[in-house]
């Protein structure tokens, strides 16, 4: 092989090395360290599986996973249902020259801090907040409803955030869709509903699934929103993980719980992998 041939072979590796190094340093090694930690005892003893067995034997721990999956599933479904029509209106109904502005307005809440946004929701949903004042002021309810510090509040905070994320992914997918598909469907006699159900929706499914998967991953690992809006009236997995660290510094158990959470995300990824291809089938 010539020198230039070697250089041609080496260059791609040279270019990809920083990314590989980054992944190795900041994902693979920490993950291995976490895996190792999860197999050690908090009191400094040797190898043990007790951190994992605690999760499966303690109903309160197990319940945290159930709560996390329930909340995440609801958030993902509701966000998709809200984001799709929103993205469709942006892509199809808003004139091209206004789309950029409309998109910017749609993602405007991204510009504020996540924590500030969550506290803002707490004030909106509070007993003396805007919603309760409107409900009691209009005479619909005589007493304020408990909206803050509930699962509903957590879901509301999450949905507000993830609708924006999903809108972006679905919008991008809709914009990539050639108008020829719809024209062809119309030529073949399909009405708007049929065209949507049999042409547009299947072709935008990758965008939906990518957005939904991102929503799932980010939501199931989020600590801030349930902590601020949920009022600790139930624990989700990230809260349970943090709880092990606060006073007791039980990193082995926290690591085990984190790995279990990652395993669940991996299972969901594998289940969705078919639809998570970037290119269209």
């Amino acid at each position: 092989m010539s020198a230039t041939g070697n250089a041609g072979c080496a260059l791609p590796w040279a270019l990809v090395t920083p990314a590989l190094g980054w992944t190795l340093l900041f994902f693979v090694l920490p993950f291995l360290a976490m895996g190792f930690s999860s197999l050690t005892a908090h009191d400094g003893g040797g190898f043990t599986l007790s951190n994992y067995s605690q999760f499966f034997n303690n109903p309160a721990y197990w319940q945290a996973m159930v709560n996390s999956l329930q909340v995440t599933a609801i958030v993902t479904v509701v966000s998709v249902l809200l984001a799709y029509p929103f993205a469709w209106i942006l892509a199809e109904q808003v004139p091209e020259r206004w789309q950029r502005l409309a998109l910017m307005l749609a993602v405007l809440p991204f510009w504020t801090s996540y924590v500030v946004r969550s506290y803002s929701w707490l004030l909106v949903l509070a007993q003396n907040g805007v919603i309760n004042r409107a409900l009691t002021g209009s005479g619909l309810f005589s007493e304020p409803l408990q909206l803050a510090n509930t699962r509903l509040a957590t879901i509301t905070g999450f949905v507000h955030f993830f609708v924006m994320l999903l809108t972006l992914t679905i919008f991008a997918n809709l914009k990539q869709l050639s108008p020829s598909y719809r024209k062809a469907a119309a030529d073949l006699g399909a009405g708007p509903v049929r065209t949507f159900l049999h042409v547009v929706l299947p072709l935008t499914l990758p965008g939906i699934m990518v957005g939904a998967f991102l929503t799932f991953v980010l939501c199931i690992g989020d600590y801030i929103t349930p902590q601020i809006l949920g009022g600790n009236n139930e624990l989700l997995m990230p809260q349970l993980v943090m709880m092990q660290i606060g006073r007791r510094g039980d990193f082995p158990l926290a690591s085990a719980l984190s790995i279990i959470l990652m395993a669940v995300v991996t299972v969901v990824y594998l289940a969705c992998a078919r639809w998570l291809k970037i290119e269209r089938a």
């Binding site: 230039t4 309160a60 009022g231 624990l235």
Partner: protein
């Protein structure tokens, strides 16, 4: 396709040389930065603190008087603090604020330096908060209590009957259902639950946990939320709830000007005494300055500033704290002898019981 890496123009700089010279420059700059950083670090005082020590009104007088910069890092929970220390190099930290009951944990890990008792105003401290059982290990003092208070019942006196707040029974009865928040820290609230069922906090064992759990579940059934410091304080201040289980002067005193209706009681069953201490790191390379800092915090002026910190108020451990009459009134300074007599120590479980207590707390949080 191949790429010729050699430059065809001998007058132009070899890209590899340019890269090397840039790397050398970057390395030199980094070394310089690290060097200046380490000089700065050596001259500074590095403190692992709770948020009340981050108040510039507390730190600035010390910095100006001693020509030193106090670098602070806030943490919550002894476990998190210890983790920061374990991930640091010896000498990175000079002083630490820590739950008084957790000082033996630091001593066991070999982190702390004994403090010179003759250079500290120990005689001026409220005797009940010296906490020698925790702050003195093997005859050596490793910590000094700087601030204390009570985990008890905080409430809005315009919304509840203050007479009801003299008994913990109000927390589990129907009268205030849905008007209660619980402070989200298992040790003090478990201590309160223990007091409610007539147990002494210093004598808790695993056998007490089922009864404590029942009491906690009754409290939870009445509670609107279980919140950490900010959330529970906000809930009480905004009227979301009228009672805070585990609240005390640390919630009500700082808000006294904005909301004078907030108050706290020490019910007939008693209250849980919390206290925070200062400790010096054995690996500190700036022990003289660290001791000066501890002496400043324990001085009457330092104590007053710490007690009224913008993050949260609390009782100064030093009886000679230079508080104004108004501040003393807000903190109920003159009532302290009675309060202290009725308060019980913070639960200080061993590692095994601590874990079981946290699990009981987890079950309480998950209960619907």
């Amino acid at each position: 396709m191949s790429i010729n890496l050699k430059t065809p123009n001998p007058t132009a700089k070899d890209p590899l040389s340019v890269l090397k010279s840039h790397l050398h420059a970057a390395c030199a700059a980094t070394a310089l930065l690290l060097a200046t950083g380490s000089f700065a670090q050596a001259a500074d005082l590095n403190a692992l603190i709770w948020c009340d020590h981050a108040d510039p009104a507390l730190l600035q007088p010390f910095e100006e008087a001693n020509g030193v910069k106090v670098n602070v890092k806030e943490f919550e929970g002894t476990g998190a603090g210890m983790a920061i220390v374990e991930q640091s190099q010896p000498g990175d930290w000079d002083v630490m604020v820590i739950d008084s009951i957790d000082i033996p944990r630091g001593v066991e890990k070999g982190l702390f330096e004994p403090l010179p008792e003759d250079k500290l105003p120990l005689a001026d401290l409220f005797p009940q908060v010296k906490m020698d059982s925790s702050t003195v290990v093997d005859g050596k003092r490793y910590g000094i209590t700087e601030k204390f208070g009570y985990n008890t019942i905080g409430y809005n006196k315009t919304k509840v009957d203050p007479a009801d707040m003299q008994s913990m029974a109000a927390l589990t009865g129907d009268k205030y259902k849905g008007k209660i928040a619980i402070y989200d820290y298992y040790l003090p609230v478990i201590g309160m639950a223990a007091l409610a069922i007539g147990k002494k906090t210093a004598e808790l064992t695993e056998a007490d946990l089922p009864a404590i759990k029942d009491e906690l579940l009754k409290m939870k059934a009445n509670a609107k939320l279980v919140g950490e410091v900010t959330a529970s304080q906000t809930a009480l201040a905004t009227g979301e709830v009228d009672i805070l289980v585990g609240g005390g002067e640390w919630v009500t005193a700082g808000l006294a000007k904005e909301n004078p209706a907030l108050d706290f009681s020490i019910p007939k069953e008693g209250a849980v005494l919390w206290s925070q201490s200062l400790a010096m790191f054995k690996g500190s390379e700036n022990k003289d300055m660290a001791l000066k800092f501890i002496q400043y915090i324990m001085s009457p002026e330092g104590q007053a500033r710490l007690a009224t910190s913008s993050c949260y108020w609390g009782m100064p451990a030093n009886t000679k704290a230079a508080l104004s009459d108004e501040q003393k009134k807000i903190l109920r300074f003159d009532e302290q002898p009675d309060f202290l007599a009725r308060a019980q120590p913070y639960p200080a479980p061993n590692a095994d019981l601590d874990k079981k207590m946290q699990d009981v707390w987890t079950e309480m949080l998950q209960a619907q």
